[in-house]
Symmetry: C2
Subunit: 380 residues, 2 copies
Amino acid sequence: MHTPMPLLPRTPNVAVVGATGAVGREMLRVLEDRAFPIGRLRLFASARSAGADLPFCGTRVPVVALPAEPDRAVFEDTDLVLLAVSADLSRTLVPLARSAGAVVVDNSSAFRQDPACPLVIPEVNGAVLDALAGPAIIANPNCSTIIALVAVTPIHRAAGIERMVVSTYQAVSGAGAEAMAELESQARDFAAGRAITPQVFRTQCLFNVFSHDSTIGPDGLNEEERKLLLETRRIWDDPAVRIAATCVRVPVLRAHSEAINLTLRRPMLADEARDLLARSPGVRVVDDRAQNRFPEPIHASGADDVLVGRVREDRSQPHGLGLDLFVSGDQLRKGAALNAVQIAEWLAAGGQAAGDQDAGGTEAATTAATPPSARRAAAR
Amino acid sequence: MHTPMPLLPRTPNVAVVGATGAVGREMLRVLEDRAFPIGRLRLFASARSAGADLPFCGTRVPVVALPAEPDRAVFEDTDLVLLAVSADLSRTLVPLARSAGAVVVDNSSAFRQDPACPLVIPEVNGAVLDALAGPAIIANPNCSTIIALVAVTPIHRAAGIERMVVSTYQAVSGAGAEAMAELESQARDFAAGRAITPQVFRTQCLFNVFSHDSTIGPDGLNEEERKLLLETRRIWDDPAVRIAATCVRVPVLRAHSEAINLTLRRPMLADEARDLLARSPGVRVVDDRAQNRFPEPIHASGADDVLVGRVREDRSQPHGLGLDLFVSGDQLRKGAALNAVQIAEWLAAGGQAAGDQDAGGTEAATTAATPPSARRAAAR
């Protein structure tokens, strides 16, 4: 069996760009929790954050302001760049990181449809990383795509998913730390009897739901819905898969949920799907009909696994060809930072990272999930 | 054309049972807002509410405690009984009201599948009321069913709906006034830094979403999902219609939203559907792609119309045979109290009430909807 050469040295020098944002901060937590081996760690953010420092492995790491006109010197002597910035800024920074010889894992949408840049969820298509030779740009998929595909790919592999109808219940964290603060401050405004004045979103978050705040195309799809379709086709390498998505924000802080209706090519019953999911990496089955306990975003928050439940046959379709699921996954963690770090782990290991094939298993009565106990590392 | 005799006198004596609950209180507001002509109004509630009185048309009406073992004397000299109580209590009270000669509109699920009791949304199948002769029990459908069917029935009539995939975003009001108070108090607990302890629901509402809190059957459907299927088939008199529903609670106070994916028998494009909806009774189209303004529960709250938007072709289905919609409707109002009072209006008018055929129309940029200005009536 071919074992590819690692693309990263044993203890790479790492740069996290956008380190003070919601995803950037989560990247630091994930690197620390997973004891990712790091030579030198550098943190970058916009000039607004100049002078800040962030906690990491028991110390504080200074945040460097990105220059107004960055050049490749920013990434000199850097092996791995984790980008958690806007698509525009990614388009500026990625060529600089490449020319400095670094591997880039980019969390923005900028390179997700670029054929030269693999779009990767390690549990789903991590093997495409093994084909890389030399510095590469790897695109981290959109959060809703990652959370859906971790859950449904095992079913796709076994029974072939022909069509999905997906309705999302998306946390505000996808719009950044300011949006999370806005939701919390709206709760405080409500409690104090103050008027609620939206600033990050154009409408009130608290006690409301609203169509995803991204641009609507001429076909009526918003960007989030389009990403779910195009990214799924690319990650599965299946241009035939069909998706009808409705993406909606709900007043939840940091975990997305999705109601997913599947049309299968080959029959699979609910019990079979549940057993398969319980054996699948990155998935935890939470499906207790007697106690009415199913995935909830407050339980997914801080967890690495995508919670999957409400697994049932859809009798509105021919017997065995329809399945319904409900999933919740941490938008900042598996939906962004954790997935990016798992990609880096794969590259550092020169193949599938050891822990990533572990199945999450099943729990009938879930309690609040907690992050894996942090294995502390002397990382600098 | 046959004009049926009114089943109710011109100014009926009305009893509202469960008057102090969330739906009961809303019934009083709706009766007042619509200047429903009333001879004598009597309000009943459980012994817990004994001694209370409720505002109505500028005065306060005393609440009478239901006797522990009610008999037909409770409904003596009553023409119309509006029931907003549990299914169990409805099963006790309905025979008493019938034997007292009253017409009953029952908001519970007790009689919704009883072939002798019409299940009615006036805009959808009000005509079945014209066939009634003499005292009758009319069942008010479940809130999620009403809100979905007001929106999609015009499309069903024009293009034939073969299958629906419905994901709900349901307000806590469906679980009663205590659930609404719980959501608000959880926001206050959060703001004060206090621990959040669920009491009405088994899990936290604030900043969370969870599968609908009703019993799950052996097929994996919860009661809410089953109601949507069975009630739709009955109201449309179409046992062939197929529905895959996922019913979910969201931290919203009193308006339900639903993402609805349709499979049509005959082609209909989005523009045609939008035009049709703009002409349909009980519907207001809110579908501004440029401004990203679509139905939101905070705008549906207090409004009579069901807001409909995100009308778009679903390209995951053959051209013209798939449509997506997003709807929001006030659970307490059109989802319960308003629909019940509209049924009573139909019965009092001996046919379709005048205002009910009015189309809600379209608004590109909606602002917070307000209830119709109350036309005050000397109702007692």
